[in-house]
Amino acid sequence: MTERLDGPQASGGGETSAAGASPGRTDPPEKTPTESTATESTATEPTPAGTTPSEKPRTGRVRARLGPSPTLAVLFLLPALLLLGVWMVYPVIYSIFRSLYDASGERFVGLGNYASIFTDSATLTTIRNNIIWVVVAPLVVTVLGLIFAVLTERIRWATAFKLVLFMPMAVSLLAAGVIFRLVYEQDPDKGVANAVLTTVHDTFSSSQGYPGARPRDNDQAPAVAQEDGTVTLRRPAELGQTVLIPLVGLPPDSVKDATPAKPAAATPGDGIGGTVWLDVVRGGGGTVNQVDAQEKGLEGVTVEAVSGGQVKATTETAADGTFRFTGLPAGSYTVRLPQSNFAAPFNGLTWLGPTLITPAIIGAYIWVWAGFAMVLIAAGLSAVPRDALEAARIDGATEWQVFRRITVPLLSPVLLVVFVTMIINVLKVFDLVFIIAPGSVQPNANVIALEMWRVSFGGGNNQGLGSALAIFLLVLVVPFMIFNIRRFRRDDR
């Protein structure tokens, strides 16, 4: 019976082993030897051999039966298999099947849906965008994560810092999308991105003048706006003449406090005079193209007298909008207001326009995921053997060399996992694009996952093409999945 000391250990139960050890003694405690054998046999060996304890179980046969029996294994695996089958395998197979049929699901179209993926310009845009995403986003996320991890490693408040960077992960992608939709808003009063840009820009050069002011858009107006924004009088002015340059397009309230406009006084024979004013009266009324009492002069407008394509004289308007050129050589002059008077203020970038939309959304994605990458890489970094770094430093390596030649190579498995995970993630990107891109630029920002949903459920009602897109996406993701799984298995060994 003494050999049986080993038996209960296989079952691993502390109490059972205590009970199993006792039968050698004279007075058995609570349990009789038979009882202990019975519990033991049900736990480990369902074979009849277990009921008659002997030396035999000590041979290799015990090891072979260490795991559960095949039937038990199947029983244990069944729930997982069932769920996988219902939720993964069947849908995938059905999607493949469905992708071979048309929108109604009745007509077999073969690979027609797949052909239309590669012929339709809209889906080609989505593929192009996905390529941009896959090339840019995982790389930037991994690099930023690495930088953050290395930089925060040795600071005192590292955890707090990491927590802040990791915070975006706690926000759902949908909410992140809503946030960035606001960040990228064109109006600098609302969009942070443009608020920063315009503030920086205005620090260096601020716009002055009257953006938005323009001559009336009809044939009776004495002045006309050129393509480049310069305002030119229709008729050339002769010496000694006074001209009127009425402008509109500004709210009268914006020049409420300005001096009322006055017609220019008569000028001597070698000059040209005139008035630049806002020809609009609050609430309507006033005589068009005439200076009325309530109308205000526009101060500080640059006026040029041009003859033969050359600027002969330049002046600025006074508070009441009048200006005067003097001492001009004989001849007739074109009077014009250069475009600089009307330059629109810098209004930031059109983030949500067709050109910048994809980079803008990638920016939001990076904001969300950089912290995640940092945490993973920092975990890896803490496990890098210090002695390797110390040795390198003692050998006279610079910090950059240590980072480049020691840290990064040692971290490369983690970096690779982060990178590949990001690729898989990026291929599936959906919510950010859906939320951030306004409807009008969504065709420009579109990605495969979003197109898949749009085509099948979001109005397109073509689940054949939608399934084809889903399978296409699956085919793109699978190689990276396999790569990751193989890595995990190698690590486990």
Binding site: G249, P251, V375, V414, V417, P438, S440, P443, G459, D492
Partner: protein
């Protein structure tokens, strides 16, 4: 150890990416059970239970339940109301497949009538209901509710889409007047506003459907109802000269950047109802071209309908004063006496007038007197429907296959947005519209 640590985290994170949202199938708002059981003899439907499903919730649901109550009091039937949520198709689809549809459903698009008729999920309306339709609606509406030669549905609630909302103070400041013709709208009203330094229009270009609404009004007005019907069914191509005319008229706005708040680029980034906010809360623009439901978006701006927030009927861009309606169609899904009776009641003058007394309702029924409406605005709107008579039309994009007329970034929505971006290329826009329409209508 170092290598393994991240993996569980990574897997967890991956799993966390996927998230789902269930569309709340709220417990059916119970209409108050029929109480007056004493006058049983006079009530033909005593003991009959009817279930009606519609998308309305909140106030709209309460108002509709008032109508149901009137029906119950009249007939003695018990009517329960089930809210379908925003996506009526997603709610009804499984119930039809499960063989348990509601007795009556109110569909947000006439296109669904055809779809469900093809699935044999609808019952033809009885002769009594058809008599009500003939009496109260023009033939156009009867046809709209028909599929495969049978009458299945009747429009019971309308949204008026031929309106321009404007801000009174902006008009006062500029001295501008509401316009009755398109040429006046562009040449006088908008020009005056623009000269006085305010953007005349806040366009909601990011919401493609607002552009299709604008197109439909201009087209109905300039090309007339017959052409409108043909284009709706794609019997004439989008390259037709009548479409050219309509797009050129739209380009009179789209082509002038000072006419739109933020120019075309700004307009394309503005969705509905942000454009309403721009007019009434931020006071950056003077007009917004959209339907009666703008009133619901005035919200915190403090603008009162009829005071600061005014409407003008969409100006005539041709011979027809356009009245484009959206709205909900009632259909019978189970052949029961009660179901037909309820639809008959909803289509009748009597039912319409009960409903009309509730706020936020507009009836497409021409015999519902405008005097029943609680507000001046709806009275005014109802008047335009009645006076437009035979020329009233349903929203064209809602009649088209949704791949063309109802999908963000596709079909008509996308092509009109591209046209807003580049209004000089009318011909190119028409060709792209035609190509998309041909693809969508073929299916």
């Amino acid at each position: 150890m170092m290598r393994k640590l991240p993996i569980p985290i990574a897997l967890l994170a991956l799993a966390a990416v996927a998230c789902g949202g269930g569309t709340g199938d709220e417990p059916a708002g119970q209409a108050s059970a029929s109480s007056g059981g004493d006058a049983a003899a006079a009530k033909p439907l005593e003991g009959v239970t009817i279930e009606v499903a519609a998308k309305w919730t909140g106030d709209e649901q309460t108002n509709f339940e008032q109508v149901l109550k009137a029906f119950q009091d009249k007939t003695g039937a018990t009517v329960t109301y089930a809210s379908t949520g925003e996506d009526t198709g997603a709610y009804l689809g499984p119930r039809i497949q499960g063989g348990n549809p509601p007795d009556v459903a109110i569909l947000p698009q006439p296109g669904l009538v055809q779809q469900y008729a093809d699935e044999n999920a609808l019952k033809p309306l009885s002769a009594e209901v058809q008599a009500q339709i003939d009496q109260n609606y023009t033939p156009y509406w009867k046809e709209l509710g028909s599929a495969n030669g049978q009458v299945y549905g009747v429009l019971v609630k309308a949204a008026h889409k031929s309106l321009i909302w404007y801000r009174q103070s902006a008009f006062d400041d500029a001295g501008a007047q509401p316009a009755t013709t398109w040429d006046d709208l562009i040449g006088k009203t908008a020009q005056t506003l623009s000269d006085s330094g305010i953007a005349p229009f806040a366009l909601c270009g990011a919401s493609g459907w607002t552009l299709t609404d604008l197109f439909e009004n201009v087209y109905l007005s300039s090309a007339g109802p017959e052409n409108y019907d043909k284009l709706s069914k794609h019997e004439i191509p989008w390259t037709d000269p009548t479409v050219t005319t309509a797009l050129e008229k739209m380009a009179q706005i789209f082509g002038k950047k000072e006419f739109m708040l933020g120019g075309s680029s700004g307009a394309l980034q503005t969705d509905f109802p942000t454009c309403v906010t721009q007019v009434y809360a931020q006071k950056k623009a003077a007009m917004v071209i959209e339907a009666d439901f703008v009133a619901a978006s005035l919200g915190q701006s403090g603008a009162e309908v009829g005071q600061e927030a005014q409407i003008m009927p969409f100006p005539k861009a041709g011979d027809t004063a356009p009245v484009v309606l959206g709205g909900d169609v009632a259909v019978v899904m189970k052949d029961s006496k009660g179901a037909q009776a309820l639809v008959e009641f909803l289509a009748s003058k009597e039912g319409g007038e009960v409903w009309a007394k509730q706020p936020g309702y507009l009836s497409p029924n021409r015999n519902v007197s405008p005097d029943n409406y609680p507000s001046d605005l709806t009275r005014q709107l109802a008047q335009t429907i009645i006076s437009a008579g035979e020329a009233v039309r349903y929203d064209m994009s809602d009649l088209a296959p949704s791949a063309f007329g109802g999908t963000d970034g596709k079909g008509e929505w996308k092509q009109l947005q591209d046209f807003l971006r580049n209004p000089s290329d009318v011909k190119g826009a028409q060709e792209k519209l035609e190509a998309d329409a041909a693809k969508a209508f073929k299916k």
